[in-house]
């Protein structure tokens, strides 16, 4: 099974970090690897986006998901079939922030006598949304390590996220959501026969990696509590380019930071580039104003069809017989 590959890969990454840090590689894993990963992320993602942007958009091909803007008295669908740039921007934002298209999801079922039925199926949408927003929240929460003093919004977010005050230290809502949502996404990939059939190792790797990151993070916070001051020194050192190798943070911390580094370095070369791709999708980010405003294709080839003069010459006698007018007598 393809999921095995991803388990093996993530397990190997964790083992490398654990053993490597034990064997005196602390500086490598605490300083060199994060810098390298971040550089790979930035350069790789930029290269990817520039690569996309270098290919032109020869045709304006929005997928219209609602009424077009035609006659002024017919109500048009401004976001699902935008007719202006602003509308198209709104459409993309709705996709990026609320997963608009996924919200449409239905599940088809074949019933007795070959009858198909379709039911709304929001589980994928809900899980995807929970997954992405909890991940974002966790990322932002981690800013508390990188900035001194801790920015107000980070403290606020942290307060909200821990509002249930369960456990000491308190469990964050986002941590639980992330694990549950990622678990759901992994579960459906494994349990839905269609999805299991089409899934590649590259589909399991990000989920397993994220779950491993979450697990190591939760362990560091709640079980094998690490020295947070030492972590903060490291984080502040990294962002101020005066890195210090922390002492006494333990092997598990190196596993955590190495897996996070791996995720960042992996992103530009994987399907995770959808995070950027969503903004460049020509079926979503263009206004459906094709007949109102001409779209220019920069490589429009000089193709000429069968001209009228050629056609008239080909069918001259038949045109005469049918009494149709001619350009040339």
């Amino acid at each position: 099974m393809r999921v095995i590959w991803s388990l093996v890969l993530v397990g190997a990454l964790a083992a490398i970090a654990f053993a490597g840090s034990r064997a005196g590689g602390e500086a490598v894993f605490a300083v060199a690897v994060p810098y390298l990963a971040l550089a790979t992320f930035l350069v790789g993602l930029s290269a990817r986006v520039i690569g996309w942007a270098r290919s032109p958009v020869p045709f304006r091909i929005p997928t219209s998901c609602g009424q077009q803007r035609s006659l002024p008295w017919i109500r048009s669908s401004r976001l699902d079939n935008p007719s202006t740039g602003l509308g198209a921007a709104g459409r993309v934002l709705l996709e990026a922030l609320a997963f608009r298209s996924l919200f449409r999801n239905t599940r088809a079922e074949l019933r007795e006598g070959g009858r198909l039925s379709y039911a709304a199926d929001k589980w994928l949408w809900a899980a995807a949304l929970a997954f992405h927003y909890s991940f974002l929240t966790i990322l932002l929460r981690h800013l508390r390590f990188f900035a001194e003093p801790v920015p107000g919004f980070v403290a606020l977010l942290q307060g909200l996220d821990g509002c249930f005050r369960v456990g000491v230290p308190t469990f964050y809502v986002s941590s639980v959501l992330l694990v549950v949502a990622a678990g759901f996404l992994l579960g459906r990939r494994l349990l839905d026969p269609k999805l299991r059939y089409l899934s590649l190792p590259a589909d399991y790797v990000p989920l397993v990696l994220l779950l491993a990151i979450a697990a190591s993070g939760l362990l560091l916070r709640h079980v094998y509590k690490t020295d947070l001051l030492a972590v903060k020194d490291l984080a502040v050192g990294l962002v101020t380019f005066r890195p210090v190798v922390p002492e006494g943070v333990g092997g598990l911390f190196y596993v955590h930071i190495f897996l996070v580094s791996s995720l960042f370095a992996y992103l530009p070369f994987s399907k995770l580039v959808h995070a950027a791709g969503i903004f460049l999708s020509p079926t979503r980010n263009l206004a459906n104003d094709n007949r109102r405003r001409r779209h220019v294709n920069p490589w429009n080839p000089p193709i000429v069809g069968h001209t009228y003069a050629e056609w008239e010459a080909d069918f001259h006698d038949k045109l005469v017989a049918a009494g149709l007018p001619l350009d040339k007598e």
């Binding site: 996309w52 270098r54 035609s70 996924l102 999805l195 590649l200 399907k271």
Partner: protein
Amino acid sequence: MTEKTQQELVQIDYAPPARDWMDPRIDFVARRGSWSYPGAAKNLRYLGFPNPRDWSPEDADWKLPPNWQQIIHDGLAERLGKYRSLKVFLDTCVRCGACADKCHFFLGSGDPKNMPVLRAELLRSVYRKDFTTAGRILGSIAGARELTPEVLKEWFYYFFQCTECRRCSVFCPYGIDTAEITMIARELLNLVGLNINWVIEPVANCDRTGNHLGIQPHTFKDNVDFLVDELADVTGVRVEPSINRKGAELLFVVPSADYFADPGIYTFMGYLLLFHYLGLDYTLSAYASEGGNFGLFTSHDTIKRLNYKIYHEARRLKVKWLLGGECGHMWRVMHQYMDTMNGPADFLEAPVSPVTGTRFEHAASTKMVHICEFTADLIRNGKLKLDKTRNDHRRVTFHDSCNPARAMGILEEPRIVLNAACNHVFEMPENTIREQTFCCGGGAGLGNDENLEMRLRGGLPRANAVRWVHEKHGVNLMACICAIDRATLTALVEYWVPEVGISGVHELLGNALVMPGEKPRTTDLRGLPLAGMEGVADV
């Protein structure tokens, strides 16, 4: 008709087979009824397309050019540089599976490679192997596949088993459009001489005669004259369309099936009645005698080549603007490609309705208006006298055709026309109409007889919805604004829901339109007795 019974066709197993999808082998003999005959050599030769020859998908040797792998590789590289859509769509798919059960071919066949995600993976896997480092090094672990003859055959099978309907693209969180993938995959296949005759013959015909059906100008005129006579019989009014007339205000372009075959001809009769009623200054063209464009199912260059004649003829005839008939893929081309490819149409004027004075601002650049937009405006302004009871023998539902719905968004206009012309209009279930509409199963050149089983399978979701509305509301007619639909849905409902017929929207408008000087109507445009006229009509 296919030999399989309805009961046999609906035994659909959505559970994937044990064989991994990366295994490309296809038994074309066992799958007869689900693929289309290859393009005839004479058509390829006429068009100057590569590798004309006689071959069959059932042959072991497809007689490819010796360097075919290089040709495909170079072709893909070229297109990655030309289409951002292709690059983004190949890179961003996360295989979430939201598209899986949105494809009518998957729903009707259960073949997992009809899930849009896997259809795209067929191309994506080769892209990974040839254009990504991970794919080059890791091979199948990274989802990469070598482009072998078997893979190419699989491409031919599945990219000519997609009707480019864009339904998956509505549900995809990144808007990945399988129509775009299929269009480009078909371009690549064409580079090595792989295409189907039901596409390539219309393309050759269209280039030579001006229309897909190969109708020459004298026959064009005969057909129009015949329909004028038919109209005179039904209504007592003799309409007077002109052909190739210079100086008309507008050029009217229709799909050729509208003046050739039942039931499209009745739609055409509806147009002619309407224009006569309005005293519209229009002309038809025997040269620009095709609004449809099977180039869309071949390559972007071919779209441009076939579409060339539209503006070319409008310029020659010195018309002011263009009006287009009811046709699905034609409107994808007119709306999303024509102006970019063959414009700017700066020799035309921004369209203004001569009847209502309405400026069609939304068509100010392309200068082409859809007839449903034109007619909806007439209805809104009270310019038409309509007797709805003349459609009372019909209980009507409306099928949104894929391209007008998802590549344009003309959802309300045809409904406005229908509701003005008919008393009994009923909608199919909401997951099967508007932007979620289901394909007829035979678009994108697949509406041929040898592919009938696949058409009936792909048309199952649509037929299901028709049966529902038939049983619930007694619907006996499905109207649509697509010429391919009018041809393929006819076969579809004949198999699945024989109680329901197929028509165009303007056929029903023609029935209802009260013509000045008409004789009392006893039949509709088809010669069927009107409600209450069953004894009177001489049918």
